[in-house]
C-alpha cells in the first residue's frame, strides 16, 4: 500500500518509517508535519492510507481527515496518538482505526491489513466526543479531485444559494456543499453574524451598517465593494451587535 506518514515529531515519523520497512510490502510516498500539509500531500501523492497523529500544531489530524473525506476517493486513515482519553472512546465506539504510541510493529501491520475508509459521520461523532467540540480552522473547497483549504479567518461571508453555499474571500469565491445553519453552529456568533436568512458575515470584515436609498439596512464590508442586505427579521440583532 502507498502510505503517507503524518506527525509533527521527527522521531515519531522516523519510527513509523522503520517499522513499515521491517513489515515490508508498503511504499512510503511521503511525510507531512501537520494537517494542512497532510491534505496537500494527499491530493498531490494520492496515498492509499494515512498514518496520522491526532494532536499537531496548526490543523490537527481529525480536521485534516474531515477535509479529506470530501475527496471522491478518500484514503483510509489510521490515527496514531499518545493519549487522548475522550477521542479514544469515540474511536472504539465508531470502529475507527487507531494506534497507541509507542507504536508496536504487529499492531501496525494488523491495522494496515484491515485499514478501511472513514465516513464524515464517524469523524463528526469523534469530534463531538472531545472535551470541547472544535470548530474547523479551514473550509475545504473541492475542485476536480483537489482540495483547496481556505483559512476561516479569510472568509468575508457565506452566502446560501438554492443548493450551494458561496464562500467569499478577499481574492476569490468558492462553492461548498454545506448549510448556513451548520456553519453558524460551528463557528458561533463571535466570528460570524447572521444578517439574512441566506447570509452569514464575518464580524471582522464588517465596515459599517448603513441605510440604502430604498430604506432597508445594508452591511458594507472591507476588501469588497459588495453590500449585503440585512433582512427585517435580523435588523434588530445586527444593530444590537453594532452597538456592542
Amino acid at each position: 500500500m502507498r502510505v503517507l506518514i503524518v506527525d509533527d515529531e521527527k522521531l515519531a515519523r522516523e519510527r513509523l518509517r522503520e517499522l513499515l520497512t521491517e513489515i515490508g510490502g508498503h511504499t512510503i510516498v511521503g511525510e507531512a508535519m501537520n494537517g494542512n500539509e497532510a491534505v496537500e500531500r494527499t491530493t498531490e501523492l494520492n496515498p492509499d492510507v494515512l498514518l496520522m497523529d491526532i494532536r499537531m500544531p496548526g490543523m490537527d489530524g481529525l480536521e485534516a481527515a474531515m477535509h479529506l473525506m470530501g475527496l471522491e476517493n478518500p484514503p483510509s486513515v489510521i490515527f496514531t496518538t499518545a493519549y487522548d482519553q475522550h477521542a479514544l472512546n469515540a474511536f472504539e465506539v465508531n470502529a475507527v482505526d487507531y494506534l497507541l504510541k509507542p507504536i508496536r510493529k504487529d499492531r501496525l501491520a494488523a491495522a494496515l491489513d484491515k485499514a478501511h475508509k472513514l465516513t464524515l459521520k464517524q469523524l463528526k461523532q469523534i469530534n463531538e466526543a472531545q472535551d470541547s467540540p472544535n470548530a474547523r480552522t479551514h473550509i475545504s473547497v473541492h475542485l476536480r479531485g483537489n482540495i483547496r483549504l481556505v483559512p476561516i479567518q479569510d472568509v468575508i461571508y457565506f452566502m446560501a444559494d438554492s443548493k450551494y453555499v458561496t464562500v467569499r474571500t478577499p481574492a476569490e469565491e468558492h462553492l461548498i456543499e454545506d448549510s448556513l445553519v451548520n456553519l453558524e453552529k460551528e463557528f458561533g456568533e463571535k466570528m460570524f453574524l447572521r444578517i439574512h436568512r441566506n447570509a452569514l458575515v464575518a464580524t471582522g470584515f464588517i465596515k459599517g451598517i448603513e441605510k440604502s436609498p430604498a430604506g432597508t439596512w445594508q452591511v458594507s464590508l472591507k476588501n469588497t465593494d459588495k453590500k449585503l442586505d440585512v433582512s427585517r427579521r435580523h435588523a434588530a440583532s445586527v444593530r444590537r451587535w453594532a452597538r456592542g
Binding site: D8, E9, K10, L11, A12, E14, R15, E18, M33, N34, R55, P57, G58, D60, E63, A82, Y83, D84, L100, K101, P102, I103, D131, S132, N134, A135, R136, T137, P151, I152, Q153, F187, G188, M191, G204
Partner: protein, 395 residues
Amino acid sequence: MESGSKIALSLLGRGIARTRSTLRALRGRIEERLFGAAAEDPAAAPDSGFLPDFCQGWTVFSVAVVAEILAIIIVLVSPQIPFAESRLGNLFLVSLFIQWIALTSAAALCGARRFLNRLSKLRAVALAYLMLLCVTWLVGEAALWALWLAGSIGSPQPEWNAYFHVQNLTVAALINAMALRYFIGRHQLRQRTLSEARAKVQALRSRIRPHFLFNTMNTIAALTRSAPAQAETAIENMADLVRIMLTDDENLVPVGNEIAIARKYLAIESLRLDNRLAVDWDVGKFPRKAVLPVLTLQPLLEHAIQCGVEPAPEGGRITVRLWEADERIHIEVTHPLPRPRRGARTPVPEADETALDNLRQRLETHYGTAAVLETNDEAGRLKVAVTLPTRGEEP
C-alpha cells in the same frame, strides 16, 4: 510447702502480667477513642500538642470570660453567702474566687505546656486534669486563710471546710473535663484540616502528563534503533524526572538542583520537538543557602512549551532568567504567544491557566504572601515572573 508457695507466686505473677496486658490494651482502646488513630506518634509533627498556648493574652482573656460566666451562673442559682452584704457583693466574692482559680489554672498550664505536649496524649490529659484539681484545692485553701485573715470567718478551718472543698472540686472536675474534651476536639479538627491541606498541595503538584509520558516513550523507542546512546540518556533523564514527580514531599531544594531537573526536562522535550524548541538560559549567582520548593521551575517551562512552542508549527524560543537580589529569588520565563487563530482548536486542552494557578497555590502554602507569581503580556510574548524569599522561610 515450698513448691506450693512457688506455684502461688508464679500464678500471682502471671495474673499481674495478664492484668498489665489487659490494662495496656484498654489504654490503647481509650486513646483510640479519644484521639483517633494518630495517637501513637506524638513526634509526628513538632507542634501537635492539643493544649492551646495559655501564655497568650487572647487565651487568658477567653479563660477569664468563661470563668466570669460561670461566676454569674453560680451567683444566680445559689443562696446568699452569709458574710456578703448584697447580691452584688456576692458576685464580687464568687468572681474573685473563680477568677483566682481560673487564672492560676491557666498559669499552671502555661508553665507545664511544653512538658505536657511531650507526653503521650492520654498521660498529658490525665496529668493536666490532676494538676487543675490540685490548683482548685490549693486556691480553695488559700481563700479560707485569706477570709480568716480578713476577719470574715472565725477560723481558717470552719466546720463547712470539707463541704466547701468537695463542692469546689466537683465543679472543677466537671468544668475541666469539659474544657479538656473541647481542646482535644479542636486539636483533632486542626489535625484533619492540616492533613487535608497537605493532600491538596500534593494534588497541585506537577504531575506527569500522560501525553508527555507516552510521546517520550515513543521517541525513546525510535532512538533505541538510530541512536542508542541518546536513548540511554533520555531514559536516565526521564527516570530522574518521574522520580521527583512521584515523591510526595514538598521539600525546599537548592536552586542548582531545581535548575538541573529543569534542564533534564528540557532535554527530553527537545528530543520530541527537535529544532522547534529553543531555550536561552541566563542564570545569575546564588548564595549557597538559596532554596526553593521542588518543582517550581519545571512547571513554568512545561507551561511555556505547551502554550508557546507546541501549538506553533514553526516552534518558538523560550527564555529563562534566574537571579538573586535583596534576599529574593527571581525567576522569569518568557514564551511566544502564537497568534490565536480564529476558530482554532484549542492547541492543548490542559495547557491553560491551571498549571500556573496550581503553582501559585503551592507557593502560597509555602510562603504565604511573601511569594509572587505574575504574568505579563508584552509584545506577543508572555512573561511569567516568580519571586520568593531566598532562604525559604515559612509564613
